[in-house]
């Protein structure tokens, strides 16, 4: 079945998943960070008994509620799309991938949704402390849900804790803890949630800056900026550290992605880091349009080697090394990996054919081969390459990966500087006079969303063509349906999510304009 894949179907399926994921990710980071900011603000209210803290909390809670609803609406489709559009994937790794999704529901979603109702409707029904506990539990639930889905995502980027079962023709979990505590999963969770914290801190600072510009809600704005900027500085530092750690992991587990995001075509010792670069409009390699060299670049000498391996003269493989191979560096070529992958697939097929023909001798022999650890290490680990016909398909879109990564990193450093400046000005009580900075703070809000989207693009575009690294290419994971069906649902999602996003932004901006007093209802 898999050999007769319609590429139009693959592209529409990818497009639909990207569309729904982007819309979902537009709203989730604010939920992750704002829930913690709310919890901190309410803690201040409970500790001090100051009603003004309560009003501040309630104002941000209103915005949280609006954002949360659309996050939920865009989220439900994500889980079910694995089945509807990626059914081959669902079987091939469902034994591993399904578990985090189920645990997410039991451990996180119920916690979040149950106490969300208490948080919104419990102000006059339960004690202050219980209400505060509910708000904290919502924040914990939200961030726990992120943990499980990111564990699942990290596993796709770096599959661990499993083996292939030829009987069932799928990968099966061998060690749950290895999946959960995979260093890639842990760092992905830390980095992604930290990015949500930063986005929420930018959001709160930016909206508060708008109030100061309008000379309204002075107390709310100043207190909110103090909280958000402090939270933002801590989160930004953590974000930069976890981003650095994640990148060092990528060098080892997804070297092609690393080469793409750094725009490194030819591996070298003492590789320089392209701090700023503009890629040429024309392809450097006519056979692969993804190979585009730099028209302009500002490079920090040797720094990429240091960043990747902690040594200024270390060798960093480039895109070409990974495709053509580099015997000196023990890098095998894509062609060789494809041969090994095809061989592994052939053995599996022979085993299945033998079973169908009741040829138990051949069946047992092939099964033993597939189960042999040496075969798994030398052949099965390249199983996914067996689906690939053209090595060029192993190269992700380099310009998109490169630009997304550099936009994300550059803005990450800007956010740190921004929070430090905001906190200093708030501390000295000079913010209200710095109208230029206040305007800049408002414009930093869309930049935070841009950085967040860029980060997601790096993670998902950079790993192409793999849906599961080295084991299953994206095009082999799709459901056996017509491309026309996916086109219909793609446009339906596009219309409905765009409509809802417009409604969300309009409601949100009106609530902000109404402010804490009138805007509560």
């Amino acid at each position: 079945m898999i050999d007769s894949i319609d590429l139009s179907l693959v592209n529409w399926s990818r497009g639909q998943f990207a569309l729904t994921a982007y819309y979902h990710w537009l709203f989730v980071p604010l939920t992750l960070g704002l829930s913690l900011i709310l919890a901190f603000m309410e803690t201040m209210y409970v500790r001090t008994g100051d009603e003004k803290w309560k009003n501040i909390t309630k104002f941000w809670m209103t915005l949280f509620g609006i954002n949360f609803a659309i996050g939920v609406a865009t989220g439900i489709i994500m889980e079910f799309e694995f089945g509807t559009n990626w059914s081959n994937y669902s079987w091939f790794v469902g034994d591993i991938f399904g578990a985090p999704l189920a645990i997410e529901g039991i451990m996180a979603f119920f916690l979040e949704s149950t106490f969300l109702a208490v948080m919104f409707f419990g102000w006059n029904k339960i004690s202050r402390k219980w209400h505060l506990a509910s708000t904290w539990l919502v924040a914990i639930g939200a961030n726990l849900s992120a943990l499980w889905i990111l564990v699942a995502n990290a596993w796709m980027q770096h599959p661990v804790g499993m083996h292939f079962n030829p009987e069932t023709a799928r990968n099966e979990m061998l060690n749950f803890w290895e999946v959960l505590f995979s260093p890639v999963a842990v760092m992905k969770w830390l980095h992604t949630t930290a990015s949500g914290f930063v986005l929420a801190a930018v959001f709160v600072t930016g909206i508060s800056a708008w109030f100061l510009l309008k000379k309204r809600e002075n107390l709310l704005a100043r207190r909110s900026i103090m909280v958000a900027a402090t939270f933002g500085i801590l989160s930004s530092l953590f974000l930069i550290w976890s981003g650095d750690q994640s990148t060092r992991q990528i060098v080892h587990v997804q070297p092609m992605k690393f080469a793409a995001i750094e725009g490194l075509y030819h591996g070298q010792e003492g590789a320089g880091l392209v701090a700023i670069g503009v890629m040429s409009q024309t392809a450097d390699d006519p056979e692969n349009e993804n190979i585009k060299d730099f028209a302009v670049r500002v490079e920090i000498p040797n720094f990429l080697s240091y960043m990747a391996y902690g040594k200024f003269d270390a060798f960093v493989p480039g895109v070409i090394d990974l495709i053509n191979g580099n015997p000196e560096r023990n890098i095998i070529s894509s062609a060789e990996k494809m041969e090994k992958g095809k061989y592994a697939r052939e053995i599996l097929k022979e085993m299945k054919d033998a079973r169908a023909a009741d040829d138990f001798v051949t069946y047992e022999a092939r099964k033993a081969m597939l189960m042999d650890p040496e075969f798994q290490e030398n052949y099965f680990r390249y199983f996914g390459y067996g689906f690939i016909d053209d090595p060029g398909r192993l190269i992700p879109n380099v310009p998109i990966s490169f630009y997304s990564f550099h936009i994300m990193v550059g803005l990450g450093f800007w956010f740190l500087a921004f929070f430090i400046l905001a906190l200093l000005m708030a501390w000295r009580d000079t913010l209200a006079r710095r109208r230029g900075f206040l305007r800049l703070a408002i414009w930093t809000i869309p930049l935070a969303y841009l950085a967040s989207m860029a980060g997601w693009t790096v993670a998902e575009m950079g790993r192409q063509p793999w849906v599961i690294q080295d084991l299953l290419p994206t095009f082999a994971a799709v459901s056996q349906i017509d491309a026309g069906m996916v086109q219909v649902t793609f446009w339906l999602f596009a219309v409905i999510f765009t409509t809802l996003a417009i409604a969300e932004v309009r409601i949100m901006t009106r609530q902000i304009k109404l402010g804490p007093k009138e805007g509560r209802k």
């Binding site: 939920v72 669902s90 469902g94 578990a99 119920f110 208490v118 339960i126 099966e172 056996q480």
Partner: protein, 376 residues
């Protein structure tokens, strides 16, 4: 503990968990049923506000249960997930669209500058309530009546008719289940209003509509149940996994599992008692009786669909492709790991109970709607 169980025992354990989740999901669809009554019962704006807010404090439970049901099915029986979701594409997509529009409707409907207007969001709630329940019920009907799919030797599935799931509506038995769920959800929704809203006029109108909806519910439920008891089902041989048909399979399953039959009968009696007490004794506790009855009936129906060597997802295209709990499940290790996680369920139920009690400790009235700061 779980690690010592056989793979079959774990598969059965997980089918029980799936059945429980399904039963709670159907019970919680009182939210959907209630949504279809907003236009009917809410004659005055304040009544409509009370109806929406009574449901708005609970909609997340239904939504979360649906998501958890999907996740648990994926984790425990991934071949069903890949086969049904990837094949019956239109049905599942339609269900998902119904729930997408619900999720924002409560929060957005009464907010100023909401782009689409309050009436549109109320229509979203109606669509979710009506189509969501009918489609889910119809989709579950295929657990008994089968679907047109095949599964190859690599366990890759393909839907074999171009309607991709929509053909399920051509089977009256599937539709009867869909309509049963729809009217049951409406009954539970009305009983929830009777229990939680303090408005004499609304309560009076609600009781009237309880009767109007009880009649079609009983008709469709009886039609579904009688047909279920006399129909043949797909049975598999646990040694060879070969599938064959068996007359009166579901009746045999009830007889082979008397406890399940007792659940079913007790559930039916509880639902009938809830209607009787709400209609003729003017009790406001019918919601709890009806809820408990719903859980028991749905739980029993799912158990007879998947246990006792029954194929819970029969293939009408290729009988041997039919799915049962043994050929579609996750590995022993994954089911074991997931079983430990399932031990958290009592804790989850406990805090849901606490939160539910805290929010519903007194009935919603017009005064609360005017003074509360977070009103939908």
């Amino acid at each position: 503990m779980f690690g010592n169980l056989t793979h079959t025992a774990l598969q059965q354990y997980w089918w029980v968990i799936i059945s429980l989740l399904a039963s709670f999901l159907v019970f919680l669809m009182f939210v959907q049923g209630g949504q279809t009554m907003i236009f009917t019962l809410g004659r005055k704006p304040i009544q409509k506000t009370m109806l929406v807010n009574a449901l708005g404090r609970k909609w997340e439970f239904t939504f979360t249960t649906l998501v958890t049901f999907g996740g648990a099915f994926f984790a425990s029986f991934p071949l069903f997930y890949s086969t049904s979701f990837g094949g019956a594409y239109w049905v599942w997509m339609a269900i998902l669209f119904c729930f997408i529009i619900q999720a924002i409707a409560y929060e957005f409907r009464s907010k100023p500058n909401n782009f689409l207007g309050q009436k549109t969001y109320d229509v979203f709630l109606f669509i979710n309530g009506a189509l969501g329940t009918i489609l889910i019920g119809t989709a579950v009907g295929t657990f008994f009546n089968g679907a047109m799919f095949s599964v190859n030797e690599m366990n890759q599935s393909r839907w074999e008719v171009p309607a991709h799931g929509l053909e399920a509506v051509l089977n009256w038995h599937n539709v009867a289940l869909g309509l049963t769920v729809f009217f049951l959800a409406r009954l539970l929704g009305i009983m929830y209003f009777l229990r939680n809203i303090d408005d004499e006029e609304l309560v009076k109108t609600g009781r009237k509509h309880l009767l109007y909806n009880a009649v079609p519910f009983l008709v469709f439920f009886l039609a579904f149940a009688v047909r279920l008891l006399v129909m043949k089902g797909f049975v598999y041989d646990p040694d060879t996994l070969t599938v064959s048909t068996e007359d009166f399979k579901y009746l045999h399953n009830f007889l082979a599992m008397p406890l399940v039959l007792a659940f079913f009968l007790a559930g039916v009696l509880l639902v009938l008692y809830s209607l009787f007490s709400s209609l003729f004794r003017e009790s406001s506790r019918g919601f709890y009786w009806g809820g408990a009855g719903t859980v028991l009936v749905v739980f029993a129906l799912f158990l007879i669909a998947g246990l006792n060597k029954t194929c819970y997802y029969p293939s009408l295209y290729d009988m041997q492709s039919s799915l049962n709990i043994e050929n579609s499940s996750s590995s022993h290790y994954t089911l074991t790991a997931m079983s430990y996680v399932s031990l958290l369920s009592p804790l989850v139920l406990a805090y849901i109970y606490l939160a539910w009690s805290a929010i519903n400790n007194r009935k919603i009235d017009a005064g609360e709607m005017e003074s509360d700061t977070h009103v939908y």
